[in-house]
Symmetry: C2
Subunit: 439 residues, 2 copies
């Protein structure tokens, strides 16, 4: 069977551009009421029956029969054996990626994640103490989308933050384990791991069971059941963003080899038929050249069926008036991955307000960032980069305000606080402030 | 009618301590299915009918008839007039509090909220760009719990972050406006304000209507309808934590005047019958003294009915073996407000892992922090300090990773990425990395 990838060809000068553009971008995050109800039931059952419920659902959904939860734990030795059993090339690649991801997140912690305080003129101390979470759960998808790189990207920032207990869950349908995932857990220093998944794994981590310890936060991507379960337990535990389909937007000035850009668009499209790849460029001939490379390269791709469908249904090559307009459109999209494939990326970067990760220059393919450049590949999708951030050390830390009011400070602050507290009708607050004022 | 406040008297050496302690702490965040359904309907209706739906619900729930949304907007002049009409003492208190809150949040931004980057040995640039959200919505409760201080605490960090469009919503049942709330909006520099509330206001901010602009994030406390609505729109927009009842925990070494501590317990209890005030101290005689002050001071308190019920139902005076044990118990509670009422607070502070805000020393009453010390009073409640943080500048910022791989870097990283990508079966990713490698 032959596949054809025909991303929509749009131009910002077309009369119907706004309409076509909106239609391409449209993606409905509508929740499925049946899934919602099913998940609510699973959560309630795990909360009530604990391990027994998790075992039942694991048997039913993953086809994995286990006599006890203990047998579903992956021991350290098994993780190490998986690592030792890999070809040297894969062992080295995992370790090298882990090293770079670790060093980037250490820099992140140092730049933005340390405690701070100062004293004001009255000697009053003000600041924030930054501390790691005690225990976190990392959800790693199993089956067709089992990504060892995601194990590194979730576990390493938690480690760098100082989390002492990192619990990984990964479903292993029919008991089939992915050695790269196990090896990544070993390299990333996951503390405990269980072969469970779905809403039942989220429930076990959120409520705790006799075997699975209750965690403070759950991160990591998953299918619709996992996303729904995470949203439901939010508040009892912390969660990271709910992930939608993955997207790439390439801003090109026409100087990057067109086959590089075509392959970058493929590398997003190959994830999923719902993934979105968009190219913005002010040069129509360059868009033609990229389309030619798409046509030429597609037949070579093992995942050509997915790529063709994703590009044809959701992809777009958009002709813009100039690079400035391309940047403005990019801000409207707020893409997860944003490549600035230009000879002069630092000219455009300041114009870019919303994006999960910005890849600057022709050499910075998204795939380098996905695996080993260092920054996290867990990024806000579906326009949520307007208000949220890449997964980072900060997701595994929390802050406590520090306040030490001096005796002198209490005299001044006490009056202000009392006036405002009486104004709000909170006399206890006012009196507590006034008691510290010397008569 | 006479009121009596009888917090539970517990001791960690009691055989049934664990049971009694767990019972005191128990608070069910269970959601009400009827509220959930009602909120889902309101959200869907506002999404469909926009302004017309908001007007209908405002008439129905707030008893406020308005011919158009325009008449529900509070103009700048009206906010200024409210401020100008206040007694000088209140004007000065608001401005002084705003100044201190601003200066604390500026320090916070400088310490933990600036962009950063570095180049590695290959010349590859790695970092994060920190940028403000474009537009945020601030929910301010109306009616009996209308707190001008909350306006400052929500709007000022947004301002400091650099948010250019801060939209406040505040319900005004029967059209009654609170001049202190309006004045606080003026002082805090809110950009637009509307007298709407409830789930309909959250919906208007999340979806946008003809009159209310769609925002990127919604912060601020509210009742069960507001909390449920925020949780439902989470993902489409950002939200801050869902707030539960307020709590204070006082760790006392017995050196603070007992009436100060009694009043600090009141200042929490007076918020709400569900609020929780707990005192931990290794000195039984001191606990007796605080109870005597509670009995003596209660009759003077205008909100004595609420205080008595809150302390009797949910309060506790707990005798611990020593201060170390008190610190350990505090970590189990992860309180919203934590007073270290000790002569030597810096001895105990390092032992305290989980708390929204830590108030050090006898002069630092919680009420000073609530109004004007500088740190934010929007804090994680109900044990969520285990994984979340005070509202801050960081809630109004987001981050974009920056990656610029040099040509030399691409040669090294390309190999690692390709090995891992092939291992995950993502050939497009691998090829994109390999194309940047020189042959």
């Amino acid at each position: 069977m032959e596949f054809v990838a025909t991303p929509a060809r749009l131009s910002t000068t077309d009369a119907q551009f706004e309409h076509d553009f909106a239609q391409r971008l449209h993606w409905s995050a509508d929740t499925d009421a049946a899934i919602e109800q099913r998940v609510a039931d699973i959560l309630a059952d795990v909360q009530k029956r604990g391990d027994a419920a998790v075992l039942d659902y694991t048997a039913r959904f993953d086809g994995l029969q286990a006599g006890s939860m203990q047998t579903l734990e992956l021991r350290k030795e098994e993780l190490k054996a998986a690592f030792d059993g890999l070809p040297a090339e894969q062992r080295e690649a995992l370790e090298s990626a882990a090293r770079r991801v670790r060093s980037y997140h250490e820099a992140q912690k140092k730049a933005n994640g340390e405690s701070w305080s100062y004293r004001d003129e009255d000697g009053t101390l003000l600041g924030q103490k930054v501390t790691p979470l005690d225990r976190v759960g990392i959800y790693v998808p199993g089956g067709k989308a089992a990504y060892p790189s995601s194990v590194l990207m979730n576990a390493i920032p938690a480690h760098v933050a100082g989390v002492e207990d990192i619990i990984m869950v990964v479903p292993t349908p029919q008991g089939v384990k992915n050695p790269l995932v196990l090896a990544a857990a070993y390299v990333a220093g996951v503390h405990r791991a269980f072969t469970i998944g779905g809403a039942q794994a989220v429930a076990a981590l959120a409520y705790g069971t006799a075997t699975i310890p209750k965690v403070d936060k759950i991160t990591g991507p998953g299918n619709a059941y996992v996303a729904s379960a995470k949203k439901r337990v939010f508040g009892l535990v912390g969660i990271d963003m709910i992930a939608g389909p993955s997207e790439i937007l390439v801003l090109a000035d026409g100087t990057t080899p067109p086959d590089w850009v075509a392959m970058d668009l493929f590398s997003q499209a190959e994830h999923d038929e719902l993934a979105q790849s968009i190219l913005l460029c002010p040069d129509a001939a360059y868009l033609d050249a990229v389309q030619r490379e798409i046509d030429r390269l597609l037949p070579e791709m093992p995942r050509k069926a997915i790529i063709a469908k994703s590009l044809s249904d959701r992809g777009a090559l958009i002709l813009t008036r100039d690079m400035e307009e391309a940047c403005a459109l990019s801000n409207r999209i707020a893409p997860e991955h944003l490549e600035v494939s230009s000879r002069d990326p630092h000219r455009w970067e300041p114009l870019l307000k919303h994006a999960g990760a910005i890849f600057l220059g022709a050499y910075t393919s998204e795939s380098l960032g996905d695996y080993c450049a260092g920054p996290n590949h867990v990024l806000p999708t579906s326009g949520t980069a307007r208000f949220s951030s890449p997964l980072g050390v900060y997701d595994f830390q929390k802050r406590s305000s520090l306040i030490e009011v001096s005796e002198a400070g209490a005299q001044v602050l006490g009056k202000t606080a009392a006036v405002l507290a009486y104004g709000e009708g909170l006399q206890g607050h006012a009196r507590a402030a006034e008691m510290r004022i010397k008569r």
